[in-house]
Symmetry: C2
Subunit: 361 residues, 2 copies
């Protein structure tokens, strides 16, 4: 059985690596001839709006999914007319628009930072009057890894910031002084069963995820699962969904969702009984979900821009190296290292070794 994947980057690649043991094969649709998943299955090199190519993907696939949320909604509609396609287009539409996303959180009773929709410099000024500064101006669509957003600290610079965003519809969000960023990876099967991984604590650097630490037994786990469950049920979701949260004291504010496997869940490949990639495939194939429990302590470090000497990384105790086969380029995610240990002290020591190898370069 062939799983069609829209997008052929590292998430598609790791889906395929998790799927072959289940007896699945893969076909990727990606405009780049260098797409790093391309070695692991059929590769249709075509744009996402190329209907003939989408028909080809649909016709050879048993089920279709996507690896990133900026797939045009139309792409999934075209595919869904011919083949089962998960996650649902409705979830994709929500994740592509920060205003719809925040509105959904509110509808479902999930707290968020305060925000205002902003479609003009006048509306921006009014929103700043209402929310105060500092605040974050974000484009409603097409933002990821810190792109499409700017922090506003100075009332005198509002017009400049607005024009830098290109005049597109935006959202102004009150800047939250949070203790930490958390994420929860959740999965829902075709039969409605759900499963949740332990909360993950995330540290960013230059707007890109740097380190994720699995925090099994976190006191906010039940609350986070409840929020994720509401989101999953609200759109009859099938597959893995990630909810990013800010922890403020004993509360959590929802930041955003990703309707897919997520960088903050890469530790699950070795650190959990069933990886997020396998569970996404189990969900879209209609198989039962696998156990999401953590095996001991786990953390993940992203390799950004370049790969340190691989022999040195492999010599770190408990290190699992994942190289994506992408051309190194500044700011590009080219790999990650997962560390798994029985106890936290040894985990942090090993993490320190990996960080030293990364920062030496």
């Amino acid at each position: 059985m062939i799983v069609g994947v829209v997008g052929g980057g590292q998430l598609a690649r790791m889906l395929a690596l998790a799927g072959y043991p289940l007896g699945l094969k893969f076909a990727f649709l990606d405009p780049s001839p260098d797409a790093c998943a391309g070695h692991l299955g059929g590769h249709i090199t075509a744009e996402y709006h190329d209907h003939a190519a989408l028909h080809r993907l649909a016709d050879l696939s048993h089920v279709v999914t996507f690896e990133f949320e900026n797939v045009p909604a139309e792409t999934m509609t075209v595919l869904a007319e011919r083949v089962p396609a998960y996650p649902p287009a409705a979830a994709l539409a929500v994740a592509q628009d920060r205003l719809r996303e925040k509105s959904l959180f509110r509808e479902l009773g999930i707290p968020t930072p305060e925000y205002r929709a902003v479609e003009s410099v006048e509306a921006l000024t009014a929103a700043v009057d209402s929310l105060g500064l500092p605040a974050i101006l974000k484009t409603r669509t097409l933002g990821y890894d810190g792109k499409g957003q700017v922090v506003l600290r100075d009332r005198a610079k509002l017009a400049a910031a607005w024009s830098r965003m290109g005049g597109v519809p935006c959202l102004l969000e009150k800047m939250v002084s949070f203790e930490r960023e958390l994420s929860i990876i959740a999965a829902r099967g075709r039969n409605g069963d759900t499963a949740f991984y332990p909360l993950v604590e995330n540290v960013h650097r230059n707007g890109i995820l740097h380190i994720s630490r699995c925090r099994a037994g976190h006191p906010l786990q039940t609350q986070a699962e409840d929020y994720a469950e509401r989101l999953l049920q609200s759109c009859d979701y099938v597959g893995v969904l990630t909810l990013e949260l800010f922890q403020v004291g004993e509360r959590m504010l929802a930041n955003e969702i990703a309707p897919r496997v997520h960088n903050s869940g890469h530790w699950t490949i070795e650190g959990a009984v069933t990886s997020q990639f396998e569970n996404h495939l189990r969900a879209v194939m209609g198989y039962p979900l696998g156990d999401t429990a953590a095996n001991g302590q786990a953390a993940m470090v992203n390799l950004i821009g370049e790969i340190p000497e691989i022999s040195e990384l492999l010599a770190v105790p408990g290190a699992h190296v994942h190289v994506y086969g992408k051309e190194p380029r500044p700011g590009r995610k080219v790999g990650h290292v997962t560390l798994c240990m029985a106890d936290d002290t040894r985990l942090e020591a090993a993490l320190g070794q990996v960080l030293a190898l990364i920062d030496r370069r």
Copy 2:
């Protein structure tokens, strides 16, 4: 960097799945157009003695290895002239000939069952006089999974047995009444470092491996490691090597070696810190070996001939399903299931569930 693999079966497939995260790519040489590793890299469809094809494989590979021990020795010689090739041809030659294998065990002080070389029916009769019955007559070459061997219990049937073997050079082995069959998976890096997995206890059915159970902490671990170490050092081995043993009381008798990753090591994919497949690649690439410790309790069951309903297998707690993508056929290894659990009681319960699904068919 491309790893060339002679053979494109499930072992090659699992090597590739372990190698992509290390940034490796793969090319397989296999005469079958359906070789199940073929989806995971380049596939040169050619016979093992096709020099032009071997040159092509060598020229596109950074290093070459093999996935089964019946590769003609000449194949590896042709490859080794052009590209680093591991494990060494000497180990392959030993593993292909039961007499050389047993002689090496003796040379290295590793106990074996008593045996005699047999090249005629007269020599067979003399050997039976010397060793007694029951005994096992085995062809010197081309035996695996119980093929090429017959148990002798009746002096009157020696001539018939001899002719059934086709008159090829054989070995007569005294039948050992052993308590259990064990195996140890060992690895040796290019720099001479060695690593050993915990002893595995193996149960066969119809001459084919049925169940392997990891036995971390086995009292004979040190002795088994010592035997494996002697074998690794004797031929400047690089890669993973498996030594199969019979346990007789407090002693072990060497049965045979496999100069490759082994079915009794499949549990290491989820059950050990580093899998046998990753460690084989680390070794042949000249990378440091990874930790061979077990994560809790683990067992593996082979799926022979057909795959039970995959949804039911995936519903068993702690079950990791591996389907090889091979056409089902009686007696053919088409997949395996690994079970990992914190304690042995739950492990055996889960194992029982998987066995029930297999035996129901």
